[in-house]
């Protein structure tokens, strides 16, 4: 049986999730040139925020049709609050400091958030079961799609469209572009750059929260460490697509996801490559791809369209 369509779908689904998280890295980088390593944990907080709504706010047995939008909302609120708090209390005081200071702060914040959830969220010391949507799976040709994946299929493009509209058409969005191009001039033109930075953090957190709900639905669990590896992958996706570019983040995510799926599926079929083909090697191949792309296009696949500072 031809496995390619299914493997492509596997990769695209995984990649969409990377992309949703990568948007946060790329937007914050585009505007303040900070690699916000705590973003993976903001993603994780989004997942727990959504879970909290389901477990402790909604009555038992609420239909997922009603529960899901509220869970997304809860996840977004939790993630955005943490992100704004992080910006206000951890990053803003360091805005004039050497670049390594906020970077180290971000790593510290990432550990702190992990440990906070570990310590205070009930039963979060090991994986916590996430609710699932009943029904499915759906067969389209030789491709099987789960109900949990459906959410991702809808959410990723919709999120992307909302973001594109926001950045291109709204006043605040254009303000973001201006700030990314040149913060000082933007300020002189009357743009409140402090506010723009907060908006960038909040938007990134909101998309990460949507990604976290998708993660929970897809894998059936959330846990305090879920943002760590996924955050690194999403950061990789952002660099691959061209850090600073929101479309690049999504594209980079998709490319990374497909690369992981295809390398798992096919590398072992190449004669002599048998032992390099298993899933444990997928990361290696993904990073080989990253290095190749960066060799020929150091600015990433789509360059730095938003944060073009040259």
């Amino acid at each position: 049986m031809n496995e390619l369509p299914q493997q492509l779908v596997n990769g695209l689904l995984l990649g969409s999730m990377y992309g949703l998280v990568a948007i946060g890295y790329t937007m914050v980088y585009g505007i303040v040139q900070l690699i916000n390593f705590a973003h993976g944990e903001i993603f994780m907080v989004g997942g727990f925020g959504a879970l909290t709504i389901y477990l402790y706010v909604l009555p038992d047995g609420t239909s997922m049709v009603i529960a899901l939008p509220l869970m997304i909302l809860g996840g977004i609120i939790a993630a955005v609050l943490v992100a704004i708090g992080a910006e206000r209390f951890a990053y803003r005081p360091l805005r004039g400091a050497p670049r390594l200071a906020p970077l180290i702060t971000a790593i510290g914040l990432s550990l702190a958030l992990q440990q906070a959830v570990w310590a205070w969220y009930p039963d979060a010391r090991s994986a916590v079961t996430f609710p699932h949507i009943d029904g499915g799976p759906f067969e389209i040709g030789s491709v099987t799609i789960q109900t949990g994946d459906l959410f991702l299929i809808v959410a990723a493009p919709v999120s992307m469209a909302i973001l594109a509209y926001f950045v291109m058409k709204t006043r605040t969005g254009r303000g973001m572009q201006a700030t990314a191009q040149d913060p000082d001039t933007a300020k002189l033109m009357g743009i409140n750059t402090d506010r723009i930075i907060v908006v960038a953090f909040a938007l990134g957190a909101a998309f990460a929260a949507v990604g976290a709900v998708a993660y929970g639905l897809k894998y059936g669990e959330v846990q305090f460490r879920m943002g760590f590896i996924l955050g690194l992958k999403a950061f990789t996706a952002a660099v691959l697509g061209g850090i600073g570019n929101i479309y690049g983040a999504m594209l980079g995510g998709l490319v990374l996801g497909v690369a992981e799926a295809l390398s798992t599926a096919y590398i072992s079929d190449i004669p002599g490559m048998d032992q390099f083909g298993s899933q444990s090697w997928a990361n290696v191949w993904a990073f080989v791809l990253l290095i190749l792309v960066l060799l020929f296009r150091p600015q990433g696949l789509l360059g730095e369209r938003v944060a073009d500072r040259a």
Binding site: I35, R125, Y219, G220, T264, S280
Partner: protein
């Protein structure tokens, strides 16, 4: 306008960041340490500390906390019964997070504390490997309730020539050399499955189990239609699941632990392959069922010994554990942990009694020597050790997921 220099600096910042990211990848879990050990009664006489090393935080904490609590129960029971005259036992538990590096640090910490006369743990075979030499150098006895890697007792070349490397290492769990083949025989002879897809997580435990399983399965005449090694840090096994589906396998063997096995089982079933997954004692945990979801029904696991609930010898343990009011379940290794701690208590008792009721100066060395001849009726049956430090109890059980619980299917003794 920022000048050219700034851009160059930014690029190098990305380089630094990437290096940091790569470093962080190797660090993974960063759980805080749970120093809160047993806190048992210390009144009267000498206090002997039994160290416990297990993952108390992170993915594997369900099993780790069961180990800690069960060892604690053994110490408390010995104190209540005044089992060793003039000696009271205390537990000190350290968290290894399932990481060999953390385990080795903990081992050093135990060695430095003169009151520690024995250590129960660890859970993971790979952690066990990192601790053995530290303990052996200090002649501090270690009894693992859960390590199943054959090399730990029988040397790296255990398949051809068995050599005991560390005299201070003992275990109450049976090895993968027995568990893998036991699973193969069950699948081939009883469950009548002939086409297997073998997956492991590349860790000492998982890869070892998968290898011994594969050997026996092939010997019996079965067909290995595919192999795959997963990355235990991820949760997305969809690509692997698709491979399994297209391989035409009728059963999946997984060498690894439940945090990955649960999602793996779920995703294999989701891909459309409605075939059971079977694993070793590392997946025999209630959390597996939670993670695997409804489709996990029919999945199988082998585990060491007979089901603790069914053993007459374990009735007291189960009741006492409940009465002690521990927050966590005793989990897969509870009975073995109790027996491991009790073996240390027995060895200490022997040493103290031979020395007119006092601890000798070279207590550690003597306890280690006494351990070799320890023999008692424990929670899991008769507890004693062979010339390699392995348990003489070779019983194993196949469990299957039924109605959201692990139900014993069949117990047996592997004879080889």
């Amino acid at each position: 306008m920022p000048g050219k220099g700034l851009i160059v600096r930014q690029r190098s910042l990305i380089a630094i960041t990437a290096a940091l990211a790569a470093g962080a990848l190797t660090l993974t879990a960063c759980g805080s340490r749970d120093e809160n050990g047993g806190g048992s009664d210390t009144s009267g006489g000498t206090t002997v500390v039994i160290g416990v090393d297990a993952p108390l935080t992170g993915d594997l904490s369900a099993m780790g906390l069961g180990i800690k609590n069960s060892a604690d129960l053994a110490a408390k029971t010995a104190n209540e019964e005044k089992y060793v005259e003039g000696i009271s036992f205390e537990i000190e538990a350290l968290d290894d997070q399932g990481q060999p590096s953390a385990g080795q640090q903990n081992a050093t910490k135990f060695v430095a504390d003169d009151d520690v006369l024995g250590v129960v743990g660890p859970l993971n075979s790979s952690v066990g490997e990192s601790m053995q030499k530290v303990f052996d150098d200090a002649k501090l006895v270690q009894v693992s309730p859960a390590n199943t890697g054959p090399g730990l007792t029988q040397g790296p070349k255990w398949q051809t020539e068995k050599v005991r490397t560390y005299k201070s290492y003992f275990r109450t769990a049976t090895t993968d050399a027995i568990q893998g083949p036991f699973a193969a025989q069950y699948i081939y002879n009883k469950a009548k499955k002939t086409k297997v897809f073998v997956i492991d997580d590349k860790k000492t435990y998982g890869a070892g189990l998968a290898a011994t399983f594969t050997d026996e399965f092939k010997k019996l005449g079965g067909d290995v239609v595919g192999t795959e090694h997963i990355d235990p840090d991820t949760k997305d096994f969809s690509a692997v699941a698709t491979k399994v589906k297209n391989s035409g396998a009728d059963v999946v063997y997984y060498g690894g632990e439940y945090p990955q096995a649960g999602p793996l089982s779920k995703q294999i079933k989701a891909s459309g392959a409605k075939i059971p997954l079977i694993g070793g004692d590392g997946i025999y945990d209630p959390t597996f069922i939670e993670l695997a979801g409804n489709d996990g029904t029919g999945d199988l696991a082998t585990s060491v010994g007979a089901p603790v609930e069914d053993l007459p010898s374990a009735k007291d343990f189960v009741a006492d554990y409940k009465a002690a009011g521990y927050k966590e379940e005793y989990s897969a290794y509870g009975g073995y942990s109790y027996d491991s701690a009790w073996a240390i208590i027995e060895a200490v008792k022997k040493v103290v009694e031979d020395n007119d009721g006092k601890l000798p100066d070279d207590a550690r060395e003597q306890v280690t020597a006494a351990m070799q001849n320890v023999s008692f009726d424990g929670v899991t049956g008769k507890v004693s050790f062979d010339e390699f430090g392995d348990t003489t109890n070779k019983q194993l059980t196949v469990y299957s997921v039924k109605n959201g619980e692990w139900a014993p299917v069949e117990s047996g003794t592997y004879t080889g």
